[in-house]
Protein backbone atom coordinates (compact mmCIF):
# COMPACT_ATOMS: atom_id res chain seq x y z
CA UNK A 1 0.00 0.00 0.00
CA UNK A 2 1.25 3.48 -0.89
CA UNK A 3 -0.17 6.64 0.65
CA UNK A 4 0.43 10.11 -0.74
CA UNK A 5 0.42 12.98 1.76
CA UNK A 6 -0.11 16.56 0.66
CA UNK A 7 2.19 18.94 2.52
CA UNK A 8 0.65 22.38 2.87
CA UNK A 9 2.94 25.33 3.48
CA UNK A 10 2.64 29.02 4.17
CA UNK A 11 5.51 31.46 3.60
CA UNK A 12 7.93 28.58 2.99
CA UNK A 13 7.04 26.83 6.26
CA UNK A 14 5.23 23.53 6.50
CA UNK A 15 2.00 23.52 8.50
CA UNK A 16 2.03 21.41 11.64
CA UNK A 17 -1.23 19.72 10.68
CA UNK A 18 0.45 18.52 7.47
CA UNK A 19 3.10 16.79 9.58
CA UNK A 20 0.22 15.21 11.52
CA UNK A 21 -1.07 13.96 8.17
CA UNK A 22 2.34 12.34 7.54
CA UNK A 23 2.22 10.75 11.00
CA UNK A 24 -1.33 9.55 10.26
CA UNK A 25 -0.25 7.95 6.98
CA UNK A 26 2.77 6.38 8.67
CA UNK A 27 0.57 4.86 11.37
CA UNK A 28 -1.66 3.33 8.66
CA UNK A 29 1.36 1.38 7.42
CA UNK A 30 2.85 0.92 3.94
CA UNK A 31 4.89 3.40 1.96
CA UNK A 32 4.37 7.08 2.65
CA UNK A 33 5.19 9.55 -0.12
CA UNK A 34 4.86 13.22 0.77
CA UNK A 35 4.41 15.94 -1.83
CA UNK A 36 5.08 19.64 -1.42
CA UNK A 37 4.25 22.33 -3.97
CA UNK A 38 5.82 25.70 -4.64
CA UNK A 39 8.69 27.38 -2.83
CA UNK A 40 9.50 25.76 0.52
CA UNK A 41 12.55 26.11 2.77
CA UNK A 42 14.82 23.07 2.36
CA UNK A 43 15.26 22.26 6.08
CA UNK A 44 11.47 22.15 6.31
CA UNK A 45 11.29 19.51 3.57
CA UNK A 46 14.05 17.47 5.20
CA UNK A 47 12.03 17.29 8.42
CA UNK A 48 9.12 15.51 6.71
CA UNK A 49 11.00 12.21 6.78
CA UNK A 50 11.24 12.30 10.56
CA UNK A 51 7.50 11.85 10.85
CA UNK A 52 7.45 8.80 8.65
CA UNK A 53 7.64 9.77 4.98
CA UNK A 54 9.77 7.42 2.91
CA UNK A 55 10.08 9.89 0.06
CA UNK A 56 9.35 13.56 -0.47
CA UNK A 57 8.33 14.86 -3.91
CA UNK A 58 8.82 18.55 -4.47
CA UNK A 59 7.14 20.36 -7.34
CA UNK A 60 9.15 23.56 -7.01
CA UNK A 61 7.72 25.45 -10.01
CA UNK A 62 7.10 29.01 -8.81
CA UNK A 63 3.79 28.91 -10.72
CA UNK A 64 2.69 26.77 -7.78
CA UNK A 65 3.48 29.44 -5.19
CA UNK A 66 -0.11 30.63 -5.44
CA UNK A 67 -2.31 27.77 -4.29
CA UNK A 68 -4.97 27.54 -7.00
CA UNK A 69 -7.24 24.67 -5.93
CA UNK A 70 -7.78 23.20 -9.41
CA UNK A 71 -4.04 23.30 -10.17
CA UNK A 72 -3.12 21.63 -6.88
CA UNK A 73 -5.74 18.92 -7.45
CA UNK A 74 -4.28 18.17 -10.91
CA UNK A 75 -0.74 17.96 -9.50
CA UNK A 76 -1.80 15.57 -6.73
CA UNK A 77 -3.62 13.34 -9.20
CA UNK A 78 -0.47 13.13 -11.33
CA UNK A 79 1.61 12.30 -8.26
CA UNK A 80 -0.84 9.58 -7.22
CA UNK A 81 -0.58 8.06 -10.71
CA UNK A 82 3.21 8.20 -10.77
CA UNK A 83 3.52 6.59 -7.33
CA UNK A 84 0.58 4.19 -7.86
CA UNK A 85 -0.77 5.55 -4.59
CA UNK A 86 -3.85 3.93 -3.07
CA UNK A 87 -4.62 6.74 -0.64
CA UNK A 88 -4.29 10.47 -0.22
CA UNK A 89 -4.10 11.96 3.27
CA UNK A 90 -4.07 15.66 4.03
CA UNK A 91 -5.07 18.18 6.68
CA UNK A 92 -8.51 19.83 6.60
CA UNK A 93 -8.05 23.42 5.55
CA UNK A 94 -9.41 26.07 3.21
CA UNK A 95 -7.02 24.66 0.60
CA UNK A 96 -6.64 20.98 1.49
CA UNK A 97 -10.30 20.04 1.83
CA UNK A 98 -11.50 21.25 -1.60
CA UNK A 99 -8.36 19.86 -3.26
CA UNK A 100 -9.07 16.48 -1.63
CA UNK A 101 -12.69 16.53 -2.79
CA UNK A 102 -11.65 17.15 -6.39
CA UNK A 103 -9.05 14.37 -6.29
CA UNK A 104 -11.65 11.99 -4.85
CA UNK A 105 -14.16 12.72 -7.62
CA UNK A 106 -11.54 12.40 -10.33
CA UNK A 107 -10.02 9.15 -9.03
CA UNK A 108 -13.24 7.50 -7.84
CA UNK A 109 -11.92 7.33 -4.29
CA UNK A 110 -14.04 7.16 -1.14
CA UNK A 111 -13.73 10.48 0.66
CA UNK A 112 -14.03 11.50 4.30
CA UNK A 113 -13.25 14.91 5.84
CA UNK A 114 -13.04 15.97 9.50
CA UNK A 115 -11.49 12.62 10.45
CA UNK A 116 -10.37 12.60 14.08
CA UNK A 117 -8.71 9.23 14.64
CA UNK A 118 -6.71 6.54 12.89
CA UNK A 119 -8.83 4.08 10.87
CA UNK A 120 -9.86 0.66 12.13
CA UNK A 121 -9.80 -2.22 9.69
CA UNK A 122 -11.37 -5.08 11.62
CA UNK A 123 -14.68 -4.83 9.76
CA UNK A 124 -14.03 -2.83 6.61
CA UNK A 125 -11.97 0.38 6.51
CA UNK A 126 -13.70 2.61 9.07
CA UNK A 127 -12.84 6.18 10.08
CA UNK A 128 -14.28 8.32 12.85
CA UNK A 129 -15.55 11.73 11.70
CA UNK A 130 -16.60 14.77 13.69
CA UNK A 131 -20.20 15.74 12.84
CA UNK A 132 -22.89 18.16 14.08
CA UNK A 133 -20.12 20.73 14.49
CA UNK A 134 -18.26 18.73 17.12
CA UNK A 135 -21.39 17.69 19.01
CA UNK A 136 -21.13 14.05 17.81
CA UNK A 137 -19.08 11.56 15.83
CA UNK A 138 -19.91 9.13 13.07
CA UNK A 139 -18.09 5.97 12.08
CA UNK A 140 -18.04 5.65 8.31
CA UNK A 141 -16.91 2.76 6.21
CA UNK A 142 -14.91 3.80 3.15
CA UNK A 143 -15.73 1.20 0.53
CA UNK A 144 -13.69 2.10 -2.55
CA UNK A 145 -10.22 0.67 -3.08
CA UNK A 146 -8.81 4.21 -3.20
CA UNK A 147 -9.31 6.49 -0.22
CA UNK A 148 -8.94 10.22 0.35
CA UNK A 149 -8.93 11.36 3.97
CA UNK A 150 -8.83 14.93 5.31
CA UNK A 151 -7.89 14.90 8.98
CA UNK A 152 -8.68 17.34 11.77
CA UNK A 153 -5.97 18.70 14.04
CA UNK A 154 -4.75 16.12 16.61
CA UNK A 155 -5.98 13.11 14.58
CA UNK A 156 -2.51 11.58 14.83
CA UNK A 157 0.22 11.94 17.40
CA UNK A 158 3.28 13.79 16.16
CA UNK A 159 6.34 11.77 16.96
CA UNK A 160 9.64 11.49 15.22
CA UNK A 161 9.95 7.97 13.90
CA UNK A 162 12.46 8.10 11.10
CA UNK A 163 15.34 10.01 9.64
CA UNK A 164 15.48 12.93 7.25
CA UNK A 165 14.84 11.76 3.69
CA UNK A 166 16.02 13.13 0.40
CA UNK A 167 13.75 15.23 -1.72
CA UNK A 168 12.97 14.16 -5.28
CA UNK A 169 11.99 16.82 -7.82
CA UNK A 170 8.55 16.36 -9.31
CA UNK A 171 7.61 18.03 -12.59
CA UNK A 172 3.89 17.80 -13.22
CA UNK A 173 2.22 18.88 -16.43
CA UNK A 174 0.55 22.21 -15.69
CA UNK A 175 -2.57 22.81 -17.72
CA UNK A 176 -3.28 26.48 -18.49
CA UNK A 177 -7.04 25.97 -18.13
CA UNK A 178 -6.53 25.01 -14.48
CA UNK A 179 -5.28 28.55 -13.84
CA UNK A 180 -8.61 30.07 -14.97
CA UNK A 181 -9.42 30.89 -11.37
CA UNK A 182 -7.06 33.74 -10.61
CA UNK A 183 -5.84 34.67 -7.16
CA UNK A 184 -5.78 38.47 -7.34
CA UNK A 185 -4.31 39.13 -3.91
CA UNK A 186 -4.06 37.75 -0.42
CA UNK A 187 -4.58 39.62 2.80
CA UNK A 188 -2.98 37.88 5.70
CA UNK A 189 -1.78 38.71 9.17
CA UNK A 190 1.55 36.90 8.88
CA UNK A 191 3.05 37.58 12.31
CA UNK A 192 0.29 36.12 14.42
CA UNK A 193 -0.05 32.47 15.35
CA UNK A 194 -2.57 30.72 13.10
CA UNK A 195 -5.85 30.30 14.99
CA UNK A 196 -6.83 26.84 13.66
CA UNK A 197 -3.34 25.48 14.38
CA UNK A 198 -2.66 27.15 17.76
CA UNK A 199 -2.04 25.08 20.87
CA UNK A 200 -3.44 27.81 23.07
CA UNK A 201 -6.27 30.17 22.15
CA UNK A 202 -7.35 33.24 24.11
CA UNK A 203 -10.80 34.52 23.12
CA UNK A 204 -12.74 37.60 24.12
CA UNK A 205 -16.44 38.39 24.07
CA UNK A 206 -18.76 41.31 24.62
CA UNK A 207 -17.68 41.34 28.27
CA UNK A 208 -14.55 43.18 27.15
CA UNK A 209 -16.82 46.15 26.34
CA UNK A 210 -14.98 47.38 23.24
CA UNK A 211 -12.15 46.83 20.75
CA UNK A 212 -9.96 49.28 22.67
CA UNK A 213 -9.67 46.70 25.46
CA UNK A 214 -8.13 44.00 23.27
CA UNK A 215 -4.60 45.06 24.21
CA UNK A 216 -4.98 43.21 27.48
CA UNK A 217 -6.12 40.07 25.70
CA UNK A 218 -3.28 40.31 23.17
CA UNK A 219 -0.78 40.66 26.00
CA UNK A 220 -2.15 37.52 27.62
CA UNK A 221 -1.94 35.73 24.25
CA UNK A 222 1.64 36.90 23.76
CA UNK A 223 2.61 35.68 27.24
CA UNK A 224 1.18 32.24 26.41
CA UNK A 225 2.28 32.12 22.72
CA UNK A 226 -1.41 31.85 21.97
CA UNK A 227 -3.62 32.88 19.06
CA UNK A 228 -6.48 35.31 19.70
CA UNK A 229 -10.10 34.55 18.91
CA UNK A 230 -13.45 36.16 19.60
CA UNK A 231 -17.17 35.48 19.85
CA UNK A 232 -19.63 36.11 17.01
CA UNK A 233 -21.08 39.38 18.38
CA UNK A 234 -17.54 40.76 18.62
CA UNK A 235 -16.79 40.04 14.95
CA UNK A 236 -20.31 41.14 13.90
CA UNK A 237 -19.75 44.50 15.58
CA UNK A 238 -16.44 44.80 13.76
CA UNK A 239 -14.34 44.87 16.94
CA UNK A 240 -12.26 42.02 15.51
CA UNK A 241 -11.83 40.56 11.97
CA UNK A 242 -14.10 37.73 10.87
CA UNK A 243 -11.28 35.19 10.66
CA UNK A 244 -10.95 35.39 14.45
CA UNK A 245 -14.60 34.45 15.03
CA UNK A 246 -14.71 31.11 16.83
CA UNK A 247 -17.97 29.17 16.73
CA UNK A 248 -20.60 27.32 14.75
CA UNK A 249 -20.36 29.66 11.75
CA UNK A 250 -16.74 30.66 12.30
CA UNK A 251 -13.46 28.92 12.97
CA UNK A 252 -13.54 25.60 14.82
CA UNK A 253 -10.53 25.27 17.08
CA UNK A 254 -9.01 22.28 18.86
CA UNK A 255 -6.26 23.66 21.09
CA UNK A 256 -4.78 22.17 24.24
CA UNK A 257 -6.03 25.18 26.17
CA UNK A 258 -8.91 27.54 25.38
CA UNK A 259 -9.33 30.60 27.57
CA UNK A 260 -12.67 32.42 27.18
CA UNK A 261 -12.88 35.91 28.62
CA UNK A 262 -16.19 37.72 28.86
CA UNK A 263 -17.96 35.18 26.63
CA UNK A 264 -21.28 33.91 27.98
CA UNK A 265 -21.06 30.61 26.08
CA UNK A 266 -23.96 30.44 23.63
CA UNK A 267 -24.36 26.94 22.20
CA UNK A 268 -23.16 28.24 18.81
CA UNK A 269 -19.90 29.41 20.37
CA UNK A 270 -19.43 26.11 22.19
CA UNK A 271 -19.75 24.28 18.86
CA UNK A 272 -16.49 25.93 17.80
CA UNK A 273 -14.52 25.05 20.93
CA UNK A 274 -15.80 21.66 22.06
CA UNK A 275 -12.73 19.85 20.68
CA UNK A 276 -10.45 21.79 23.07
CA UNK A 277 -8.60 19.68 25.62
CA UNK A 278 -8.98 22.14 28.49
CA UNK A 279 -11.33 25.12 28.75
CA UNK A 280 -10.91 28.02 31.17
CA UNK A 281 -13.78 30.49 31.54
CA UNK A 282 -13.43 33.93 33.09
CA UNK A 283 -16.74 35.74 33.44
CA UNK A 284 -18.23 38.10 35.99
CA UNK A 285 -21.63 36.43 35.70
CA UNK A 286 -21.57 33.25 37.83
CA UNK A 287 -24.59 31.96 35.86
CA UNK A 288 -22.90 32.23 32.45
CA UNK A 289 -23.69 28.95 30.63
CA UNK A 290 -20.06 28.63 29.54
CA UNK A 291 -19.06 27.52 33.08
CA UNK A 292 -20.98 24.26 32.50
CA UNK A 293 -18.71 23.44 29.56
CA UNK A 294 -15.51 24.55 31.30
CA UNK A 295 -12.77 22.66 33.12
CA UNK A 296 -11.77 25.66 35.23
CA UNK A 297 -13.75 28.78 36.00
CA UNK A 298 -13.13 32.12 37.61
CA UNK A 299 -16.02 34.41 38.47
CA UNK A 300 -14.65 37.90 38.30
CA UNK A 301 -14.20 41.08 36.35
CA UNK A 302 -11.98 40.46 33.30
CA UNK A 303 -10.29 43.83 33.80
CA UNK A 304 -9.05 42.66 37.20
CA UNK A 305 -8.52 38.94 36.55
CA UNK A 306 -6.64 39.14 33.23
CA UNK A 307 -3.79 41.40 34.45
CA UNK A 308 -3.42 39.14 37.49
CA UNK A 309 -3.33 36.12 35.20
CA UNK A 310 -0.63 37.67 33.00
CA UNK A 311 1.44 38.43 36.12
CA UNK A 312 0.95 34.91 37.50
CA UNK A 313 2.04 33.30 34.21
CA UNK A 314 5.12 35.51 34.01
CA UNK A 315 5.95 34.71 37.64
CA UNK A 316 5.68 30.96 37.01
CA UNK A 317 8.14 30.94 34.11
Amino acid sequence: MTTLVFIESADGKIKKTSLEAVAYAHAMGGLVVAIALGTIDKPELDAVGKYGATKVLHAADTKLDHPVIQVYASVLIQAMEQESADNLILANSSLGTPVAAKVAVKTGASFASNVVELPTTTSGFVVKRSIYTGKAFSFVEMKSAKKVIAIKKNAAELKETGAAVSTVPFTPVLNDADFNTKILSTEKASTEISLPEANIVVSGGRGLKGPEHWGMLEELAKTLHAATGCSKPVSDMGWRPHHEHVGQTGVKVAPQLYIAIGISGAIQHLAGVNSSKCIVVINKDADAPFFKAADYGIVGDAFEVVPKLIAAIKASK
Partner: protein, 243 residues
Protein backbone atom coordinates in the same frame (compact mmCIF):
# COMPACT_ATOMS: atom_id res chain seq x y z
CA UNK B 1 -28.88 34.96 -15.36
CA UNK B 2 -30.01 31.71 -13.81
CA UNK B 3 -28.98 30.97 -10.22
CA UNK B 4 -29.30 27.61 -8.50
CA UNK B 5 -29.19 27.68 -4.70
CA UNK B 6 -28.70 24.32 -3.01
CA UNK B 7 -30.08 24.16 0.51
CA UNK B 8 -29.84 21.65 3.33
CA UNK B 9 -32.55 20.82 5.86
CA UNK B 10 -30.72 20.58 9.16
CA UNK B 11 -31.35 20.71 12.92
CA UNK B 12 -31.42 24.22 14.41
CA UNK B 13 -28.00 25.24 15.77
CA UNK B 14 -29.31 25.07 19.35
CA UNK B 15 -30.49 21.44 18.98
CA UNK B 16 -29.43 18.80 21.42
CA UNK B 17 -28.00 15.90 19.44
CA UNK B 18 -29.12 12.35 20.29
CA UNK B 19 -29.18 9.03 18.51
CA UNK B 20 -31.61 6.12 18.61
CA UNK B 21 -31.83 2.52 17.33
CA UNK B 22 -28.57 1.48 18.92
CA UNK B 23 -26.82 4.69 17.85
CA UNK B 24 -27.55 4.17 14.17
CA UNK B 25 -30.15 6.91 13.65
CA UNK B 26 -30.48 10.60 14.48
CA UNK B 27 -33.23 11.30 17.01
CA UNK B 28 -35.52 13.96 15.53
CA UNK B 29 -37.71 14.16 18.66
CA UNK B 30 -38.22 17.80 19.59
CA UNK B 31 -35.75 18.97 16.94
CA UNK B 32 -36.61 22.01 14.85
CA UNK B 33 -35.31 21.87 11.28
CA UNK B 34 -34.09 24.94 9.43
CA UNK B 35 -32.41 25.98 6.17
CA UNK B 36 -28.68 25.45 6.83
CA UNK B 37 -27.33 28.77 8.15
CA UNK B 38 -24.60 28.91 5.50
CA UNK B 39 -27.15 28.03 2.79
CA UNK B 40 -29.28 30.89 4.11
CA UNK B 41 -26.40 33.28 3.30
CA UNK B 42 -26.16 31.80 -0.21
CA UNK B 43 -29.91 32.24 -0.69
CA UNK B 44 -29.79 35.82 0.60
CA UNK B 45 -27.03 36.74 -1.89
CA UNK B 46 -28.99 35.08 -4.70
CA UNK B 47 -32.08 37.13 -3.84
CA UNK B 48 -29.96 40.31 -3.81
CA UNK B 49 -28.69 39.44 -7.30
CA UNK B 50 -32.24 38.77 -8.41
CA UNK B 51 -33.30 42.19 -7.16
CA UNK B 52 -30.33 44.03 -8.65
CA UNK B 53 -29.98 42.28 -11.99
CA UNK B 54 -33.18 40.37 -12.63
CA UNK B 55 -31.74 36.89 -12.16
CA UNK B 56 -34.02 33.91 -11.61
CA UNK B 57 -33.46 31.82 -8.50
CA UNK B 58 -34.17 28.09 -8.27
CA UNK B 59 -33.65 26.23 -5.00
CA UNK B 60 -32.68 22.60 -4.86
CA UNK B 61 -32.77 20.23 -1.93
CA UNK B 62 -31.89 16.57 -1.72
CA UNK B 63 -34.31 15.17 0.82
CA UNK B 64 -37.50 13.27 1.50
CA UNK B 65 -40.96 14.89 1.67
CA UNK B 66 -40.36 16.11 5.26
CA UNK B 67 -37.98 18.79 3.91
CA UNK B 68 -40.74 20.56 1.96
CA UNK B 69 -41.56 23.13 4.70
CA UNK B 70 -37.88 24.15 4.57
CA UNK B 71 -38.02 24.42 0.77
CA UNK B 72 -41.23 26.50 1.01
CA UNK B 73 -39.44 28.85 3.39
CA UNK B 74 -36.75 29.41 0.75
CA UNK B 75 -39.52 30.16 -1.77
CA UNK B 76 -41.08 32.57 0.73
CA UNK B 77 -37.75 34.36 1.05
CA UNK B 78 -37.86 34.99 -2.69
CA UNK B 79 -36.76 32.02 -4.78
CA UNK B 80 -38.85 31.53 -7.93
CA UNK B 81 -39.16 27.76 -8.05
CA UNK B 82 -37.78 24.63 -6.44
CA UNK B 83 -36.56 21.14 -7.14
CA UNK B 84 -36.61 18.39 -4.53
CA UNK B 85 -34.55 15.32 -5.33
CA UNK B 86 -36.47 12.63 -3.50
CA UNK B 87 -33.68 10.87 -1.60
CA UNK B 88 -31.94 10.77 1.77
CA UNK B 89 -28.76 12.90 1.50
CA UNK B 90 -26.45 10.11 2.64
CA UNK B 91 -23.02 11.53 1.82
CA UNK B 92 -21.26 14.37 0.00
CA UNK B 93 -20.57 12.44 -3.19
CA UNK B 94 -24.17 11.28 -3.48
CA UNK B 95 -25.54 14.79 -2.91
CA UNK B 96 -23.01 16.39 -5.29
CA UNK B 97 -23.96 13.87 -8.00
CA UNK B 98 -27.66 14.77 -7.62
CA UNK B 99 -26.92 18.51 -7.76
CA UNK B 100 -24.64 18.12 -10.79
CA UNK B 101 -27.45 16.25 -12.53
CA UNK B 102 -29.69 19.35 -12.33
CA UNK B 103 -27.12 22.15 -12.50
CA UNK B 104 -26.62 22.33 -16.24
CA UNK B 105 -27.90 25.58 -17.72
CA UNK B 106 -27.37 27.54 -14.50
CA UNK B 107 -24.80 30.35 -14.54
CA UNK B 108 -24.20 30.46 -10.83
CA UNK B 109 -24.55 27.61 -8.35
CA UNK B 110 -24.56 28.77 -4.76
CA UNK B 111 -24.71 26.79 -1.52
CA UNK B 112 -23.42 27.03 2.02
CA UNK B 113 -19.76 26.31 2.76
CA UNK B 114 -20.87 23.17 4.59
CA UNK B 115 -23.96 21.51 6.01
CA UNK B 116 -24.13 21.83 9.78
CA UNK B 117 -25.13 18.20 10.28
CA UNK B 118 -22.38 16.20 8.58
CA UNK B 119 -19.96 19.12 8.07
CA UNK B 120 -18.36 17.57 4.99
CA UNK B 121 -17.66 20.98 3.46
CA UNK B 122 -16.95 19.57 0.01
CA UNK B 123 -20.18 19.33 -1.99
CA UNK B 124 -19.36 22.59 -3.83
CA UNK B 125 -15.88 21.35 -4.80
CA UNK B 126 -17.31 18.01 -5.96
CA UNK B 127 -20.06 19.67 -8.02
CA UNK B 128 -17.45 21.94 -9.62
CA UNK B 129 -15.30 18.95 -10.49
CA UNK B 130 -18.27 17.02 -11.90
CA UNK B 131 -19.36 19.96 -14.06
CA UNK B 132 -15.82 21.02 -15.00
CA UNK B 133 -16.33 24.57 -13.68
CA UNK B 134 -14.52 26.54 -10.94
CA UNK B 135 -15.66 26.02 -7.34
CA UNK B 136 -14.73 28.59 -4.70
CA UNK B 137 -15.36 28.34 -0.94
CA UNK B 138 -15.80 29.76 1.65
CA UNK B 139 -16.90 32.93 -0.13
CA UNK B 140 -17.48 36.06 1.99
CA UNK B 141 -18.10 38.48 -0.87
CA UNK B 142 -19.31 37.87 -4.41
CA UNK B 143 -19.79 40.45 -7.14
CA UNK B 144 -20.62 39.84 -10.78
CA UNK B 145 -19.29 41.98 -13.61
CA UNK B 146 -20.46 40.60 -16.95
CA UNK B 147 -19.16 37.04 -17.07
CA UNK B 148 -16.49 37.68 -14.45
CA UNK B 149 -17.07 36.99 -10.76
CA UNK B 150 -14.93 38.63 -8.12
CA UNK B 151 -14.90 36.95 -4.75
CA UNK B 152 -13.26 37.17 -1.34
CA UNK B 153 -12.54 33.76 0.11
CA UNK B 154 -11.68 33.21 3.75
CA UNK B 155 -8.38 31.44 4.35
CA UNK B 156 -6.60 30.65 7.62
CA UNK B 157 -5.77 34.00 9.21
CA UNK B 158 -6.98 36.15 6.34
CA UNK B 159 -8.65 36.55 2.98
CA UNK B 160 -7.86 35.65 -0.61
CA UNK B 161 -9.34 37.68 -3.47
CA UNK B 162 -10.12 35.54 -6.50
CA UNK B 163 -11.60 36.04 -9.93
CA UNK B 164 -13.22 33.41 -12.11
CA UNK B 165 -15.60 33.23 -15.04
CA UNK B 166 -19.20 32.09 -15.03
CA UNK B 167 -20.47 29.46 -14.76
CA UNK B 168 -19.13 28.63 -11.33
CA UNK B 169 -19.96 27.09 -7.98
CA UNK B 170 -19.54 29.01 -4.72
CA UNK B 171 -19.78 27.79 -1.12
CA UNK B 172 -20.96 30.80 0.88
CA UNK B 173 -20.59 32.11 4.41
CA UNK B 174 -21.11 35.39 6.24
CA UNK B 175 -20.89 38.30 5.56
CA UNK B 176 -21.77 37.68 1.89
CA UNK B 177 -25.29 39.00 2.53
CA UNK B 178 -27.72 39.62 5.38
CA UNK B 179 -30.11 36.79 6.16
CA UNK B 180 -33.57 37.50 4.81
CA UNK B 181 -36.77 36.95 6.76
CA UNK B 182 -39.85 36.03 4.71
CA UNK B 183 -42.67 38.58 4.74
CA UNK B 184 -46.37 37.75 4.64
CA UNK B 185 -46.63 38.29 0.87
CA UNK B 186 -43.69 35.95 0.37
CA UNK B 187 -45.22 33.29 2.58
CA UNK B 188 -48.55 33.50 0.71
CA UNK B 189 -46.96 33.36 -2.74
CA UNK B 190 -44.62 30.50 -1.75
CA UNK B 191 -47.59 28.16 -1.47
CA UNK B 192 -48.27 28.30 -5.19
CA UNK B 193 -44.71 28.54 -6.54
CA UNK B 194 -43.65 25.45 -8.51
CA UNK B 195 -41.93 22.71 -6.49
CA UNK B 196 -40.87 19.87 -8.74
CA UNK B 197 -40.15 16.48 -7.18
CA UNK B 198 -37.70 14.31 -9.10
CA UNK B 199 -36.32 10.87 -8.40
CA UNK B 200 -32.57 10.62 -7.71
CA UNK B 201 -30.12 9.25 -10.20
CA UNK B 202 -28.57 6.01 -9.10
CA UNK B 203 -25.23 6.56 -7.39
CA UNK B 204 -23.46 3.90 -5.42
CA UNK B 205 -22.51 5.10 -1.94
CA UNK B 206 -18.77 4.96 -1.55
CA UNK B 207 -18.94 5.71 2.16
CA UNK B 208 -21.52 4.33 4.59
CA UNK B 209 -22.19 5.58 8.12
CA UNK B 210 -22.26 2.56 10.43
CA UNK B 211 -23.00 4.19 13.76
CA UNK B 212 -22.88 7.43 15.72
CA UNK B 213 -21.39 8.40 19.05
CA UNK B 214 -21.67 11.31 21.46
CA UNK B 215 -18.56 12.78 23.07
CA UNK B 216 -17.89 11.63 26.65
CA UNK B 217 -19.63 13.81 29.25
CA UNK B 218 -17.60 16.71 30.58
CA UNK B 219 -16.47 16.56 34.24
CA UNK B 220 -17.66 19.23 36.66
CA UNK B 221 -16.04 22.66 36.39
CA UNK B 222 -13.44 23.48 39.06
CA UNK B 223 -14.02 26.99 40.33
CA UNK B 224 -11.07 29.10 41.39
CA UNK B 225 -11.32 32.33 43.39
CA UNK B 226 -10.63 35.59 41.54
CA UNK B 227 -8.32 36.44 44.43
CA UNK B 228 -6.15 33.43 43.75
CA UNK B 229 -5.39 33.52 40.03
CA UNK B 230 -1.96 31.95 40.59
CA UNK B 231 -3.73 28.73 41.56
CA UNK B 232 -5.21 28.55 38.06
CA UNK B 233 -1.73 28.72 36.54
CA UNK B 234 -0.49 25.99 38.91
CA UNK B 235 -3.45 23.74 38.09
CA UNK B 236 -3.06 24.25 34.34
CA UNK B 237 0.56 23.17 34.72
CA UNK B 238 0.36 20.27 37.16
CA UNK B 239 -3.22 18.99 36.90
CA UNK B 240 -4.39 19.65 33.33
CA UNK B 241 -0.81 19.66 31.99
CA UNK B 242 -1.60 22.12 29.24
CA UNK B 243 0.94 24.83 30.06
Amino acid sequence: MKILVCITHVPDTTSKINFIDNNTKFDTTGVQFIIGPYDDYALARAIELKESSGATVTVLNVGLADTEPTIRKALAIGADDAIRVNAVPTDSYFVASQIAGHAKGFDLILMGRESIDFNGGVVHAMVGEMLGVPAISPVMKLDIDGTKVKMAREIEGGKEYVEANLPLVAGCQEPIAEWKIPNMRGIMSARTKPLKVVEPKVVENSIVAQKFELPPPKGAVKMISADNVAELVTRLKTEAKVL
